[in-house]
């Protein structure tokens, strides 16, 4: 077992708002190994972004970390003094933002924007830092970088700007890169280029990536592991094969089922009905129950524990309980299962055992 670079243990974050306390993150567990890519998938408001802001120590002022720990290379990040956190930010943990059109300072030369973390963290002189910035611009594929290092953001297209944002994140060679929907604001063709770039960089530097997205299609080629988030919780986590081939949580089914594939017939796409629950008053039982056509009576009363299907695969749904009735998932999911079971003959969801949430970290 390789050393973990990041471990999030029982994290719970509330937001104090005028209308009450919003429970944005509710008991989240996950970890990250060096060079690994973990995708956090979920719809808006599921807590993906709050989780990453918590890792960066950049939560809004009204956020309160109720409990839990975030260990980075064995160092506790929760309640780390601000000046120590600043040394980590942009240096050991860096972040790529969603909208490249607004995340660059319009009045600063991009050379300076890229060099800034080096000047700050490595106490590098301007000349040296700019040289490195130029190398990085070449690496992220900005054509004719030398001629553009003195340019301002408005002189670049969206895709080029996102490359600049990536260059900023990578300049000080971070160990963990958090990418918050890095392709959502881009054209589809540019999306593919940016994803390729991120893969190339990961190969070159061995960076660990936390990849936030609401688009399972983007995840497929990118991630090693996937954590599906719903209403502030991880409802299913596993390797990319396990989540795509052998999904167990009805919400994961819904997400996969709403993805168009080459087999999708003409006509409408499948959608998950309803809206996420109000996190001011989270439901007592399974948060997804209200939108779940497979919901059981117990879902209304009690939160499901995590059921373990493999050393890496966990799903929080009562459907895996031994007393649960057999349900027939949507056709596309049954097809996925069949294909997966061909490749993994011993894969089964009949003997999943309920485990403590911390078992997720024990892989």
């Amino acid at each position: 077992m390789t050393e973990k670079i990041l471990e999030v243990n029982d994290l719970k974050i509330n937001f104090n708002t005028d209308s009450g306390t919003v429970q944005a993150i509710r008991d989240v567990y996950f970890d990250l190994k060096p060079g690994e890519t973990l995708a956090l998938v979920g719809e808006s408001g599921s807590g993906k972004s709050v989780t990453t802001r918590a890792l960066m120590g950049l939560l809004a002022k009204n956020a309160r970390i109720e409990r839990g720990s975030v260990q980075f290379k064995g160092k506790e990040l929760i309640d780390l003094p601000e000046d120590e956190y600043r040394d980590i930010r942009g240096s050991e943990i860096a972040m790529i933002f969603q909208d490249p059109m607004t995340s660059l300072d319009p009045t600063m030369k991009i050379g300076q924007q890229i060099a800034e973390p080096l000047i700050k963290h490595q106490k590098m002189g301007k000349k040296e830092a700019w040289d490195k910035a130029l190398d990085m611009m070449n690496l992220v594929g900005i054509p004719n970088a030398e001629a553009h290092i003195n340019d301002y953001p408005h002189q670049f297209s969206g895709g080029m700007r996102q490359r600049i944002v990536i260059a900023i994140a990578l300049i000080d060679n971070p160990e963990v890169l958090i990418a918050d929907e890095p392709t959502t604001a881009l054209d589809v063709t540019i999306q593919a280029q940016i994803l390729d770039l991120m893969k190339k960089i990961q190969k070159e530097f061995g960076t660990s990536i936390i990849f936030i997205t609401h688009d399972l299609g983007v995840v497929a080629g990118m991630a090693d592991r996937v954590a599906v988030m719903y209403a502030g919780q991880i409802v299913e986590i596993g390797t990319i094969d396990e989540i795509y081939g052998f999904p167990q949580h009805p919400y994961t089914w819904g997400l996969l089922n709403s993805m168009p594939t080459t087999q999708t017939d003409r006509g409408s796409l499948e959608a998950i009905p309803g809206t996420p629950p109000d996190l001011l008053n989270p439901p007592v039982g399974d948060a997804f129950a209200a939108r779940n056509q497979y919901a059981l009576a117990i879902d209304e009363k009690q939160q499901p524990p995590y059921f373990q299907l493999s050393p890496t695969h966990f799903a929080a749904t009562w459907l895996l309980d031994e007393q649960a009735p057999e349900v027939v998932p949507p056709l596309t999911v049954r097809q996925r299962w069949a294909k997966y079971q061909q490749a993994h003959p011993d894969a089964s969801n009949k003997h999943a055992k309920p485990v403590e949430a911390s078992a997720i970290l024990a892989r």
């Binding site: 600043r86 942009g90 933002f97 700050k120």
Partner: protein, 309 residues
Amino acid sequence: MSGMFKYILKRIGIIFLTLIIVISATFFLMKLMPGSPLANAARLSGEQRQLIESQYGLNDPLMVQYWHYLVNALQFNFGHSFQFQDQPVSRLIAQRIGPSIQLGLQALVFGVISGIGLGAAAAVRRNTKTDTTLSILAVLGVSIPSFVFAALAQYFVGLKLGWLPIAGWEGFKFTILPTIALGMAPLATAARFIRTEMVDVMGSDYIELARAKGLSQNEIVWKHTLRNSLIPLVTLIGPMAVNLMTGSVVIEKIFAIPGIGGQFVSSILTNDYPVIMGTTIVYSMMLMVVLLVTDILYGLIDPRIRLAN
């Protein structure tokens, strides 16, 4: 930089054309006004009246008068004052405009720089007591007229403490109190403006990215927030500068400053057309020059504008 040079030359050309239009408009507006400068001089005999009219060229055809005025005005020759015998208008203006410009510029620099400082301080400590206090002071600064500040400053600093002269215009010491009194309004305006703008900028994505780079609050304010917050303020500074430099009648009267504001008002009261016209033309020229300067400033602060031309 040659692009910049070309741009400035072009703008100066436009200023010249605008000036001609302003001179023409001023001239014809004056001619449209009912009566003549001699209307009240009933005791003049017909012959005397003719003599005076020909001396001032008032009998020439309108277009000839206009041409003469235009050519002269472009050389800053606005004729002689009716009120002060044998005083060329240009000299009258030249004597009076110096103190007004100096006072205006001082008030502008003092007001805007302190305003930016206080506004930034309030924005960084937003929703704290400092912020509330500064905001209340800014509202007071905007709403209290400058003569109240002037009177208070004269009474406390000048009279009670005796630190600075109460009135007059005999050196830098004399300019301090009027500068502060006149600078209060721009200070408060700039402070309010910068606070709003900075709070806005601090919520933007690129500031969050700056935080994610590991920069401290101070570094973020100095390197990223301030410059971006200044851009809209430049728009405000142009008209503000002209307003201040063309002389505040009230401040000039209170501090006995020989500025142009007081003179402009008295020229209107006495129908001293050449002075009114000359002053109007000089004011409009100052406005155009200030607007040119603000546009250049814009380009220096905001690269998007620099390259757009």
